[in-house]
Symmetry: C2
């Protein structure tokens, strides 16, 4: 305490001496520190931004594309002949490029179509209203214009709340209100309304065409492709998480030091699956505007991807609960864990293989003959897990004999192990069986996609049918027999 007080006194003394002589120097160093801190912050920000770009270089390309499109459209102003053609309305072409040009081709096309449709529809309506207002005489003209503006703007605003319109035509509704207001108000003043409208539509068409050309020709980013990559990537992440968490659980006591950042990152992949709903919804909405690209047709069933993602989220919820159960306080004894180990790992390995095969099927858009085999293997493994649970005493010590004479010993073993000790492994097994059921839902959803998108038939289907009992499966069958003998 005394020491503490001394320290405080010393600091106060120092402050006083500083305050006495060199306040200017302190102010200087303070400013310097602030500047340095600001510079550091700016540097960190720029570094982060640069890393974002490095992670996905297409972002840099998109920026260059916007620059190119804008420079092209500004030629309308800089080159005299073009300027004389469209005059001051060239501004609308510039505005169109800036507002319409989006990162993905789908978004650009969607905005383009929305802008053209919204502008045209509003233009026709505004001219109609203007025509009626002029016939009504000078007194009623502002009244009719005002009332029509009020009603149509309110109706169009309301339409933006309707989910189907919000998903596809939100921007169109906005442009409708904008154009209707501008024409209906200008109509009251500008005499050469038709000429202006003509020029404006002409420049908007030029702007949109430029956007679409630049967007679709220079390294296009397709929303459909993005959705496809996101969903298939998430399938892989799901498989990694599922396998990772169970493997880590069973090897935890042995080699917990091995689990590094990399494996932890893999383990948490299921969180990406849970949190990517919003992105998927947006991408699926944009993808439907895109023309055929890569291996996707114009009317590729993008909505089915959302269904697949929903089944994946169901599965990820279960993995979340599984991880919760693994990290819970009721730890199972090592002996029980050891007995459960091989079969549990078999179940998750089979699940993970199946999910990865589904991802591969989607990536190649080719049906795989392996899927059926993998489903069978997964079902078999789940069945084995159930069988193991059914033979409860085996959990304790599988080397015990089944003789009627030994019942007493067996009973003793049972009494020693309360339910509290096996609760973790039983919950794990139960959740694994639930996960198997949910993986089947993913399989069903992918099969529906395969039907809808007409995936190519499996290349070696004939071969697969002939070799129905593949080496893998034979091994599998042998294992089952072995287990049946053991129990």
């Amino acid at each position: 305490m005394a020491h503490n007080n001394k320290g405080v006194v010393k600091r106060v003394e120092w402050r006083i001496s500083v305050g006495d002589g060199s306040s200017e120097r302190v102010g200087h160093s303070c400013m310097w520190a602030m500047t340095a801190s600001l510079a550091l912050k700016l540097y960190m920000f720029m570094k982060k931004a640069w890393e974002i770009g490095l992670n996905d270089p297409r972002k840099f390309i998109h920026c260059l594309k916007v620059g190119i499109a804008l420079t092209c459209v500004s030629l309308f102003y800089y080159l005299k002949p073009l300027y004389d053609g469209v005059g001051g309305n060239a501004m609308w072409a510039v505005m169109t490029v800036i507002v319409v040009f989006e990162n993905t081709a789908g978004a650009t096309i969607s905005k383009t179509i929305n802008r053209i449709c919204g502008t045209s529809l509003a233009g026709f309506l505004a001219f109609g209203v203007n025509w009626v207002a002029r016939r009504a005489g000078n007194e009623f003209e502002p009244l009719i214009a005002g009332v029509s503006l009020f009603l149509l703007a309110s109706a169009a605003t309301f339409s933006r709340f309707i989910p189907t319109i919000k998903a596809r035509f939100d921007y169109g509704a906005l442009i409708f209100i904008l154009t209707f207001s501008l024409i209906s108000i200008s109509g009251y003043r500008v005499e050469e309304l038709m000429n202006m409208a003509q020029q404006r539509i002409f420049t908007i068409v030029i702007g949109t065409c430029l956007c679409i050309i630049v967007s679709l020709t220079i390294c296009p980013i397709w929303a459909g492709q993005e959705l496809h990559v996101l969903v298939t990537g998430n399938l892989d992440k799901l498989a990694n998480s599922l396998r990772g968490c169970v493997t880590q659980y069973f090897s935890h006591s042995e080699a917990s030091a091995i689990s590094d950042d990399e494996s932890n990152r893999k383990l948490l992949g299921y969180k990406c699956v849970l949190s990517s709903k919003a992105t998927e919804d947006v991408m699926a909405n944009l993808a439907r505007w895109e023309p055929a690209h890569g291996c996707f047709n114009f009317r590729h069933p993008w909505k089915q991807y959302l269904k697949i993602a929903a089944t994946m989220r169901n599965c990820a919820s279960c993995i979340d609960a599984l991880i919760g159960c693994i990290n819970s306080e009721n730890k199972a004894p090592d002996q029980i864990k050891k007995n459960m180990r091989s079969i549990s790992l078999k179940v998750v390995t089979n699940c993970a293989s199946l999910i990865r095969e589904l991802a591969l099927t989607m990536k190649n858009m080719t049906n795989s003959c392996k899927v059926d085999i993998l489903i069978m293997e997964m079902n078999n493994a789940a069945q084995e897990l159930s069988d193991l649970l059914k033979s409860y005493p085996k959990l304790v010590d599988p080397s015990e004999s089944h003789n009627a004479q030994d019942t007493q010993i067996e009973v003793a073993a049972k009494i020693e192990i309360p339910v509290m000790e096996i609760i973790q492994v039983v919950t794990l097994a139960s959740l694994l069986i639930e996960i198997v059921a949910r993986v089947k839902c993913i399989v069903k959803a992918v099969e529906e996609l395969s039907d809808l998108a007409k995936f190519k038939p499996a290349k070696s289907k004939q071969h697969a049918v002939e070799n129905k009992f593949s080496p893998d499966q034979e091994k599998d069958e042998k294992t089952i027999n072995k287990i049946q003998i053991v129990f």
Copy 2:
């Protein structure tokens, strides 16, 4: 088959006879059918839209607000003195109102500030570049203007990819590009640039002020309030789901007929919790722009709501797994279910009460003295559940005596019940214990909010401390003692 053929022949004959005499009539009726179907679709659409409005009448009010703001701003055109003041630039006020006016106050303010900042910043930069370009001579003028446009537009576009900027200043970056392009391009042609810029900024300020006044004075919708209502509502939904699913499970055999649509809807409330992340993120981003309103200060800790929502989603994941386990194929025998019933129901009832109390705490922004008691009760119930599991044979028949002589009978009972039969109840219990742990995370997050937002102290805290052993708790203590005696 013969019958089938006859039918086909008949139909063909009928078609021929139709084709012979009355093709005109068929065409007529076909058109009529199409019109009717179109009218029906339109009617259904309008009905759906009307219902959307009825469900949330504020949507109607928002539409009226947009209409009012637009009509007000159009006065600039209709009334001559005002028109003479700002001239053709009044168009910018109209445009501002349409683009800036959003549903929530936060969104309107955010767009307003973005628009003004983006416009001003871009304006200053554009003038600077223009000044430099003019000094460089006629030859270099378009070159400098073009290169600066290309660079700044690319940089601003890239900034929109950076998450922190995207969340708050996305619209500002867009407006920056728009304004910079328009001024830098116009600057090359229009001589009275300063005058134009002045008028334009003046009209934009008028438009934004009008938006903010209308948005904040006529039935304002606050993003913060919406977020608050969403999160507290989701807490209630979570409590209902949790209680509903376990109650339904244990009463399934008795009164499955009672479970109607209403209860099913309640049961699926947790899905709302899982799927409302995107809305919450948007609302939290908008809420930070809003001034103090209702019982929220300007710097209310909106981010903490996102943390609470994250803990709620964790809990909802577990409920999802729980429902999966309840619907799984391994049904537990009625006897075991009966023994588990009261304690399981106690756990979920306590969890649900606690979650509802948390919702109430947040709604009233007042700490509740009940929370601590409810946490204790929940912990006690969870402990009882653990105790019940520890006394495994009791699951089978709690009336069995504990005499050493009866060991043989007890053993017989144990052998009769394989793990497969108790797997469902064990998983249920395990998941309930996990849910209790996750509910505690919600409690922690709400307590953090209470600290950050400085919730009012509990009204009857003194009273609660004095009566620490409340009747409820006493009852609870008695129950525990009773249970300890039974086992």
